[in-house]
């Protein structure tokens, strides 16, 4: 929140053009040229003659009528005088304005609105709105609230907000990720002020924020935008509740269905390499799933292994992952989520790549990694690809949040990903007590690991670590003193594994702050 909630709104701020063109009667007209939406309108002038314009005061909105709306010439003359008199806008019957009028309005940068109703009636309504801007704003808000009530999805609510507030961009943000709306709302510019409104899930749990970037130079704009953002909250909550209901049901359904599918693959008498013998059950298509072609599985998982991801995270992943491909499956399993895409061409990965690119920000923001399996045919193939994707995801954890690992590129290295590093580290606590107590423990472990990785070559290790060869030599000597002696071939594998486990844990920023014991 960049603005204290409940700050008193200045009551006398004049209404702006942007506000006027959104409510009747101007909303029913057509804006041929909008010079400056933030332009205040302080007075409405009904001009029956061109001469009347000569006496108009600045920031007037001029409604042309009778002789002053006698044809293209009168509109041209009126636009010119309006420009001379620094008027805010000119309003005229549609029949009077031609293409050249719009061109002249643009050239003089004078706002021009054409209307189909009686100019005098329009002028009277406008005069009321201009003399009581807050009433006009309230009217606008009421109209908007009515519209919002009809929207049932988050996306529709955000698009209504963006339509109403254009050109001000609005986004719904969870953490740093944009769930819906225009990301431009988050870009801070010198001339834009950010307005934020919290959206809480039931039970006052913080869920998301509505963010809008409002032009800073427009007085009162921020208050007005904030008021509209608040109006949108009930609609958003309703859409959230609906979405949660839907997604909870769907998640259970999908989980059960995937279990059946897996069973099918296992029970099938023909589990040969080709794996086409198992027919996809008809109900898979009811879920929108495709398993007939080449299936390439995706495993989404937290970079840091956790028992079971919280429900909100599942929702978020579902929303982000299915944004582009709403019919793809998303099945929660163990510590991650399974999805897949089915293509007739095994090599076609364009769809998947696009989806992965769109998911990258969410993955980074919420500490997720992605593993991708190989394309395999049919239901058994899918299960194989799922296993591969899961392996790949574990490997991806080495590269940190946001990483994507394709199984095609993993190879035997995948084995390391399965090491129970936390348990192994506990072994180190017991049998390498001196080392674990040392303050420079992680440096020493990294150095020994580098030397072992390089087959014992100190030169290669020094290059990899970016330090002098002698430094490596000194550290190896110190490590040996602390019990980390890899000269003994019988212990070398065990120590290599231990170092790998310790190093991978210390890479984890979540643990780096932990002191030893």
């Amino acid at each position: 929140m960049s603005r204290p909630r409940g700050a008193a709104l200045p009551v006398t701020l004049p209404i702006t053009l942007a506000e006027l063109v959104r409510i009747a009667p101007l909303a029913a007209g057509e804006v041929l040229h909008l010079a400056d939406p933030a332009r205040p309108v302080e007075q409405v002038v009904v001009a029956e003659t061109i001469d009347r314009l000569r006496r108009s005061s600045p920031h007037s909105l001029v409604v042309l009528h009778a002789d002053a709306a006698a044809g293209g010439w009168s509109l041209a003359a009126a636009l010119h005088l309006a420009w001379e008199r620094n008027a805010s806008a000119v309003v005229v019957a549609r029949s009077v304005a031609g293409p050249s009028s719009a061109a002249l309005a643009q050239r003089l940068n004078m706002t021009l609105v054409v209307i189909d109703e009686q100019p005098v009636e329009v002028a009277l309504q406008l005069a009321g709105q201009v003399s009581a801007p807050d009433a006009a704003r309230a009217l606008r808000q009421a109209l908007f609230a009515e519209r919002l009530a009809e929207e049932s999805s988050t996306r529709a609510v955000l698009s209504a907000l963006n339509g109403e507030l254009a050109p001000v961009p609005v986004a719904l943000v969870v953490g740093d990720a944009v769930l819906a709306g225009r990301a431009a709302a988050l870009t801070e510019g010198a001339d834009a002020e950010q307005v934020e409104v919290d959206v809480k899930a039931p039970g006052e749990r913080p869920w998301a924020r509505l963010v809008a970037a409002v032009p800073a130079r427009v007085p009162g704009a921020a208050q007005h935008v904030e008021a509209l953002l608040r109006l949108a909250r009930p609609a958003l909550l309703a859409s959230l509740a609906q979405a949660r209901l839907n997604s909870a049901q769907r998640a259970t359904h999908e989980q059960a269905a995937f279990g059946l599918l897996r069973q099918l693959a296992v029970e099938s008498p023909s589990t040969d390499r080709v794996g086409t013998a198992v027919e996809a059950p008809a109900w898979t298509s009811d879920l929108g799933w495709h398993v007939d072609g080449f299936n390439r599985a995706v495993w989404l998982a937290p970079a840091r292994p956790v028992a079971a991801p919280p429900e909100q995270l599942t929702e978020l992943v579902r929303a982000a992952w299915l944004r582009a491909r709403p019919t793809w499956p998303l099945v929660a399993e163990d510590d991650g989520w399974i999805s897949w895409c089915s293509t007739s061409d095994a090599e076609d990965v364009s769809l998947l790549r696009g989806t992965l690119a769109g998911f990258r920000e969410t993955a980074a923001a919420h500490g997720l990694v992605v593993g991708v399996g190989r394309p395999e045919r049919g239901v058994p193939g899918l299960m194989r690809s799922v296993a591969e994707a899961r392996l790949a995801a574990h490997v991806a954890r080495d590269s940190g949040p946001g990483a994507v690992q394709w199984f095609d590129q993993v190879g035997p290295g995948a084995a390391l990903a399965w090491l129970p590093t936390a348990e192994i580290a506990q072994v180190a606590d017991l049998c390498l007590q001196d080392l674990m107590a040392a303050k420079d423990r992680s440096t020493l472990v990294d150095t020994v690991l580098a030397v072992l990785d390089c087959g014992g070559s100190l030169s290669q290790a020094s290059q990899r670590l970016g330090v002098h060869r002698n430094t490596v030599l000194t550290r190896v000597a110190r490590a040996r003193q602390l019990g980390l002696d890899f000269e003994d071939p019988g212990q070398r594998l065990a120590l290599h594994v231990l170092c790998h486990a310790l190093a991978s844990l210390s890479d984890d920023p979540g643990r780096s702050g932990d002191g030893p014991g």
Partner: protein, 374 residues
């Protein structure tokens, strides 16, 4: 405004004493300048007719009203109706002569001279035709100094002379005699008949004396038109043209632009006035690149630059097609044409209160002050 002084620029000969067949091309070009309503469709037929008459009957004498005995009976002539109608239904040849003779019969007195009702459009040529046919001089004076829409829009009417009795003789061979006491009634009665006569007619009106015309007519306008025509025949560059026109009639350039739009019925329509309101939008091709908006009604009645009124009736507004080197006529304009918009002050009488009331912007439904007044 006088054309009596000797010209210093080429082509300008000052006052002219007679019109021969050789002058016909200049007469035609000058007539085009003084009214953009003249099309090309009937050019060769009309000029051939007039040149043939001048060849057969000899040159027509051009006299200032002061040079004629004051009691010389004079009658004005013009074409009433549209040039397009005249192009499609050319004169039989006797229409103007017969119109004059009908008034002579009515009044029982012969005319000793004829003069143009409006020295512009084909109406600048036909008084020469009648003078050649009748063997009388042509007065170097007219009633408008250009063209206006209605027949009482004349300096004679402003000076208190009556247009009646007047005769319209059509190409169908039929004629109408109108006798009224109130000038504007004559035009109303006449218009209805002109359509039936074939869309145009030869009009003889304002029968009067040379003495009355000394104060009531605009002097020297035929010589002026011929001088402008001679200049145009030399096909000078647009800049030279404007500079030399300035010396003859005070012409200046408002701007140069391409036609981007033609609008119709662009102002409320008063059907008693011929030619419906239309508009022309030009985009200035140099300088400030303003939007020039021209309001038309048979003539150009107003020019707005970016919405500011910069020239208006009674100013004479004309269009010079700079890529062709000739005056553009209103019935042949096309989007894409590159034009100079020229303004020439009208004769002083039109800027008087009475003149402005009659032919100023107000008469075209445009309620703005003339730019020369503001």
């Amino acid at each position: 405004m006088s054309t009596a002084q000797a010209g210093t620029t080429g082509g300008y000969l000052g006052a002219i004493s007679s019109i021969s067949a050789d002058d016909v091309p200049a007469l035609y070009q000058g007539a085009k300048f003084y009214s953009p309503a003249v099309g090309e469709a009937d050019k060769s037929a009309l000029t051939a007719w007039l040149a043939g008459l001048l060849d057969r009957n000899g040159p027509v004498a051009l006299r200032r009203p002061e040079a004629m005995p004051p009691d010389t009976r004079c009658v004005s002539l013009c074409v009433i109706g549209s040039g397009s109608a005249m192009a499609d239904l050319p004169p039989s040849g006797d229409e103007f002569q017969l119109a004059v003779q009908r008034i002579e019969q009515l009044q029982g007195q012969p005319f000793g001279a004829v003069y143009p009702l409006a020295a512009a459009t084909v109406s600048a040529l036909v008084p020469v035709v009648a003078a050649a046919q009748l063997g009388v001089p042509l007065l170097d004076a007219d009633g408008m100094g250009r063209t206006y829409a209605l027949i009482h829009h004349t300096s004679m009417y402003l000076a208190g002379l009556s247009p009646a009795p007047l005769v319209a003789h059509g190409p169908t061979g039929e004629s109408v005699l109108i006798e009224v006491t109130i000038g504007p009634r004559a035009d109303r009665l006449l218009r209805a008949n002109v359509d039936t006569l074939g869309g145009w007619a030869a009009l003889a009106a304002y029968p009067t004396t040379a003495g009355a015309l000394r104060r009531a007519a605009l002097p020297g306008t035929v010589s002026r038109l011929l001088n402008v025509g001679r200049l145009l025949l030399e096909r000078p560059t647009p800049d030279v043209l404007v500079a030399r026109l300035a010396a003859i009639n005070g012409c200046s350039r408002i701007g140069r632009g391409r036609i981007v739009e033609l609008e119709h019925l662009s102002r409320p329509n008063d059907v008693t006035v011929p030619g419906h309101p239309s508009s022309l939008v030009l985009e200035e091709s140099d300088g400030q690149r303003r939007q020039l908006r021209l309001e038309l009604r048979s003539e150009i009645v107003a020019v707005f630059a970016d919405g500011r009124l910069v020239a208006a009736a009674p100013d004479l507004l004309s269009l010079f097609d700079v890529s062709r080197g000739e005056i553009a006529s209103l019935d042949s304009l096309e989007p894409g044409d590159l034009l100079d918009v020229l303004v020439t002050p009208a004769d002083a009488v039109w800027y008087s209160a009475e003149g402005m009331a009659m032919v100023g912007l107000g008469s075209h439904g445009i309620g703005l002050d003339h730019p020369r007044r503001r």
